[in-house]
């Protein structure tokens, strides 16, 4: 019965229009739209990856081997389970040309294929030539295709010749698209595609060189992917084979999109919290304007329940509208941007309206709206009929009734549980929630301190303009606390994102170049290493050279247990790792535990492990680690832990074995050279012409590539934070608009008693600036703390405060608050005192 009456009253009240609710609607719409859009884009990409899994993978299933081709037994098993099979090898190399000014070379990621390639999808070439023709014989020389960027770097046109290792090729076409590009992971250079048969004379796939072979399978339609995977892993568990299938064609990208998407949704949630503060302020302002109506209803006999329900239904209905608009907008934006987004992505995304993002964003929206409206709504219970004949001189209760506090606590828990459930990440969600709650608490304390300080200062200050400003700030009923909280939270999120962004963009560029080598040389063969060292040694421009033998291997077991069970998803376990051997403790190496082996030790294999990674995995001295190297399992005991600094881009192996354990296995050498930037080109020309099979990786180029990738992540984060900026500004405008009536009255009274417009404007500007500064100082601390936490715990990167970003955001916030405040203050100043005072009577 009471709900029916409440609904009737709510409907009547809503006839008055939604003027007081514009900010509420805008905040909810924007927050929900941001989350819907991010979540929709994430699902669109994931769906694209699933739908196109076979095309991206190059077949319905793939078996990958490191350093070697499949054995006859392995190949027979693969052929026996497939309708068709294609063999692909992948490795880095240098493409050499004879340019007008002498020899030129560039790093390339080479893929050699057989006649069956590609099993799924198609390769697109510049001149519409079939791939088989393009890679076939071109007047006695094998053909090859490469990406335009590489051809341009080498100054090659179609028809020109270039060399890989010892083999000449003719560039028969430019490579525009390859269907399995996304599944190949991160490449060190642009792609060159050749036929495997043509590589036989190149000397690039000799034992010990770094390459991987992939066997793509086309399967019968009724083949069960899970069963096949289990059968393959059971049969070849110790061979170092890695199995993938079309269910997850590009796992690297899928994982990256998942993590980035989750992070952006959480940034969106922070934005929704900023909007929530605005929603709360809007509801409070609206309910303040309804005090006389509520008191009248109380006089006429309305119970507290009827009053609460009346306004709960009104605000609930409007929140519903805001959320619905947000869902609509959030679904429409990805659809509208689909062509542009697809053009930016290396994989196809499948854009449509998905139910999950709508549901997820709606849940967040409703819970946030409830949490932030319940607090001010609970206050309507305290409005008494006596308010009608007396201004409320009684102090407001600080907190709502216990039942409302409990309900808010329950809703907050539900919001956190939803975020954990939707994003499947407890730690990150809880950290984010703790950050937001901590920031709100710090801001509430800052607002309280600011009011108290302003009260004391206003008594001490004699200058009237300052005194008016300080007195206004010290008045608890003028809403300065909610401005500090909303502005401060918005600025905190922005400052944190700014710190993350700046650290991502700056980390490598800032930290590496001082200590990084100029070049990495890989694939130096055993019979070349002494020549190579001698050649480099006589070059006066080389300031330092390090060399080490290198093999690649996969950790398959730890203490006899499957490595994944022990170490989970740790990066050391994921895929194959470079490893080396050494008789004595290498130069500049520090042991953290254990001892090095005797130089002539020849007993059971011993292993030296990187200390930090060992601690993360939980390894201890004496543990047994089984490595699969070239299909052979070696179990080594951990003899010691040592410090390895990967951040200086020098040679750093997670694992070093005693020489007797693996020195007999085919291996090559790796070398780093340190030289001035101006000498780099000359050194490369000299070494590349003398050792054409050796691959040189210029560290500056690699850093630029990684910086580009990190820059893209940082940009995505910035886009996510853009909605927070907009929401924060809306909240500011809402707060400024809410105070307009009070400011007009104050301006009218001040004018009446002789204050000039300039004095009044200055006083209004001062209070806006002081509010902005209070919010900014807290936001600075919270933002830096948040940025550090994300860098340290999520990105696992070093952190440095990015002062320009921090200060720009704080001053930007201060300026925004000043502008919003002054915009409305000018309006207040424009009205005549008599007009304002009469309307107030």
């Amino acid at each position: 019965m009471s709900w029916k009456i409440s609904a009737k009253f709510a409907r009547r009240e809503l006839r008055g229009g939604i003027t007081g609710f514009r900010i509420l609607l805008a905040c909810l719409t924007l927050g929900v739209a941001a989350i819907t859009a991010v979540s929709t884009i994430k699902i669109a990409i994931e769906t694209g990856l699933t739908e196109q899994g076979a095309t991206l993978l190059g077949g319905q299933a793939e078996a990958e081997f490191t350093y070697r081709f499949a054995t006859a037994e392995e190949r027979d098993w693969l052929v026996g389970n497939a309708l068709a099979i294609s063999e692909v090898t992948d490795f880095r190399s240098m493409a050499h040309v004879q340019g007008p000014d002498g020899p030129e070379q560039a790093l390339t990621q080479v893929k050699s294929v057989d006649d069956a390639y590609p099993l799924t999808g198609s390769v697109t070439l510049s001149n519409d030539v079939a791939l088989k023709v393009a890679l076939g014989d071109q007047d006695g020389t094998p053909g090859a295709v490469m990406q335009r960027v590489l051809a341009e770097r080498l100054g090659l046109d179609v028809g020109d010749r270039f060399r890989l290792g010892q083999q000449d090729f003719v560039l028969s076409a430019l490579l525009k698209a390859e269907p399995d590009r996304a599944s190949d992971g991160y490449g060190m250079g642009p792609r060159t595609l050749v036929h495997t048969n043509a590589l036989k004379a190149a000397g690039l796939l000799s034992p010990g060189t770094v390459f991987s072979t992939k066997y793509r399978l086309l399967l019968a339609p009724d083949k069960d992917l899970e069963q096949l995977k289990t059968a393959a892993e059971d049969r070849f568990s110790n061979s170092g084979m890695r199995w993938r299938d079309a269910r997850n064609g590009a796992p690297g990208i899928a994982r990256f999109i998942d993590r980035l998407g989750v992070f952006l949704v959480l940034v969106g949630l922070a934005g929704l919290a900023v909007g929530g503060v605005g929603v709360s302020a809007a509801v409070k302002t609206y309910l303040d304007s309804k005090i006389s109506v509520i008191a009248t209803l109380r006089t006429l006999g309305a119970t507290r329940a009827i009053i609460f329900q009346t306004y709960f239904l009104q605000i609930g209905a409007l929140s519903g509208v805001g959320i619905a608009l947000g869902l609509l907008l959030g679904s429409a934006i990805p659809l509208a941007l689909a062509p542009w987004i697809n053009a930016q992505l290396p994989i196809p995304a499948s854009f449509t309206i998905y139910a999950k993002p709508l549901f997820e964003a709606a849940v967040y929206g409703f819970l946030t709206a409830l949490i932030f409206t319940l607090w001010p709504l609970a206050r309507v219970e305290d409005i008494r009929a006596a308010t009608l004949f007396r201004d409320q001189i009684c102090r407001h209760k600080t907190l709502p009734a216990l039942r409302y506090l409990m309900a808010i606590g329950g809703l907050l828990t539900a919001l956190l549980a939803s975020a954990v459930w939707f994003n499947d990440t407890i730690k990150l969600t809880l950290w984010m929630a703790a950050g937001i709650i901590g920031a709100l608490f710090a801001l509430a304390v800052a607002a309280f301190v600011m009011q108290r300080t302003a009260r004391l200062a206003s008594r001490a200050v004699r200058q009237p303009v300052w005194r008016w400003a300080l007195a206004a700030l010290s008045n608890p009923s003028n809403g300065s606390a909610s401005v500090v909280m909303s502005l401060g939270l918005g600025l905190s999120v922005l400052a944190a994102v700014g710190q993350i962004d700046g650290n991502l963009r700056g980390a490598i560029a800032r930290d590496l170049p001082k200590v990084a080598p100029s070049y990495f040389f890989v694939d130096i063969q055993k019979d070349q290493i002494s020549d190579f060292v001698a050649r480099v040694s006589i070059n006066p421009q080389v300031t330092r050279m390090d060399t080490a033998p290198m093999l690649r291997g996969i950790i398959t077991q730890i203490n006899g247990v499957d490595a994944n069970e022990v170490a989970g998803d740790h990066w050391v376990i994921r895929g194959d790792r470079g490893l080396t051997f050494a008789a004595t403790l290498p130069e500049r190496t520090t042991l953290t535990a254990g001892t090095w082996w005797e130089a002539d030790y020849s007993g059971p294999p011993l292993l030296s492990f990187a200390a930090e990674e060992a601690a993360e995995i939980g390894l201890e001295l004496g543990d047994k680690v089984t490595l699969n190297i070239l299909g052979r399992n070696i179990t080594a005991e951990i003899k010691n832990f040592r410090e390895v600094d990967f951040s200086n881009a020098g040679i750093g192996f997670v694992m070093t074995l005693n020489p007797a354990a693996i020195s007999g296995a085919p291996h090559s050498f790796i070398s780093t050279l340190y030289a001035a930037e101006t000498a780099e080109a000359g050194i490369l020309r000299d070494l590349a012409s003398r050792f054409p099979n050796i691959t040189a990786i210029r560290v500056r180029d690699a850093i630029a590539e990684v910086s580009k990738l990190l820059g893209a992540i940082a940009s995505a984060t910035s886009y996510g934070a853009a909605t927070t900026i907009l929401t924060g500004f809306l909240v500011l405008i809402g707060a400024a608009a809410a105070g307009e009536r009070a400011r007009s009255y104050e301006a009218a009274v001040l004018k009446t008693i002789g204050a000039t417009r300039r004095q009044i404007l200055l006083s209004f500007a001062l209070r806006s600036a002081l509010l902005g500064a209070a919010a900014g100082i807290v936001a600075l601390a919270v933002g830096i703390l948040g940025g550090w936490a994300v860098n340290h715990f999520v990105m696992e990167a070093k952190f440095a405060v990015v002062w320009p970003s921090a200060l720009a955001i704080i001053f930007g916030g201060l300026l925004a608050n000043l502008l919003a405040g002054l915009g409305f203050a000018l309006k207040s100043l424009a009205s005549r005192p008599a007009q304002t005072l009469r309307s107030r009577d």
Partner: protein, 230 residues
């Protein structure tokens, strides 16, 4: 012996604001008899409106007791008081306090709706006809003159046929002629329905129309409750 409809005993009211404690009423004792018309007069800040609100259960006394129609208002919860007002009291304010987003008809029907009366709109329509506003039923408060708004407020106060009608300076915001018309309506209708009328006023001529006048100064009674002015 006649049982009073409102009975106050050693009633005091203090409020605490940011500036500290403010004493508003001190040890007020009085009875109001059924059907009586009583004027509360006194200078601004003397506590007359506060006393009226205490009698209507709109304010809570700091000490003392107040009974209305045999119910101890000081012992009732906020919601019990709301239900009590709904059934037994009508209130008219100087500033009318109509609900801006409701039409005149809806404003008058509201207390009946709250009481669950299925004939709420029919009765509200009749009440508006009685106060001469049959042509203004669909109008919002902002579309009505001050006198019309006060007539709507009067209709709203009387539509539930209250036992007690409280009026806080009902003509304070109206010009002389309009105020006089409202006063006539107020007295006539309360008499017609047998309601006890308690009003706060500054106007001597209005107080003189009442059976009894009580003077307040600084929160204390100046005139003994048994004295009759008229």
């Amino acid at each position: 012996m006649t049982v009073p409809v409102v009975s106050a005993e050693l009633l005091s009211l203090s409020l605490t604001g940011n500036a500290g404690k403010i004493d508003i009423l001190h040890d007020i004792t009085l009875d109001v008899l059924p059907g009586e018309t009583l004027a509360l007069v006194g200078p601004s800040g003397s506590g007359k409106s506060s006393l009226l609100m205490l009698m209507g259960g709109l304010e809570r006394a700091s000490s003392g007791r107040i009974n209305a129609l045999g119910h101890d208002l000081s012992a009732m919860s906020e919601d019990q008081l709301a239900r009590f007002r709904r059934q037994h009291m009508g209130v008219v304010f100087q500033s009318f306090h109509l609900i801006p987003n409701m039409t005149a008809l809806e404003n008058v029907a509201t207390p009946l709706e709250l009481a669950g009366d299925k004939q709420a709109f029919q009765r509200a329509r009749h009440e508006l006809e009685v106060v001469g506003l049959s042509h203004r039923m669909g109008h919002y408060p902002s579309e009505l003159s001050g006198g019309e708004q006060q007539r709507v407020a009067l209709a709203r106060a009387l539509v539930t046929r209250p036992d007690i009608l409280l009026a806080d300076e009902p003509t304070g915001n109206l010009d002389g002629a309009t105020g006089a018309a409202i006063v006539d309506l107020l007295f006539n209708l309360s008499a017609k329905h047998g309601a006890t009328l308690i009003l706060v006023t500054h106007a001597t001529e209005l107080a003189e129309r009442c059976d009894r006048t009580i003077h307040l100064r600084d929160g204390r009674l100046e005139t003994q409750p048994s004295e009759t002015a008229a």
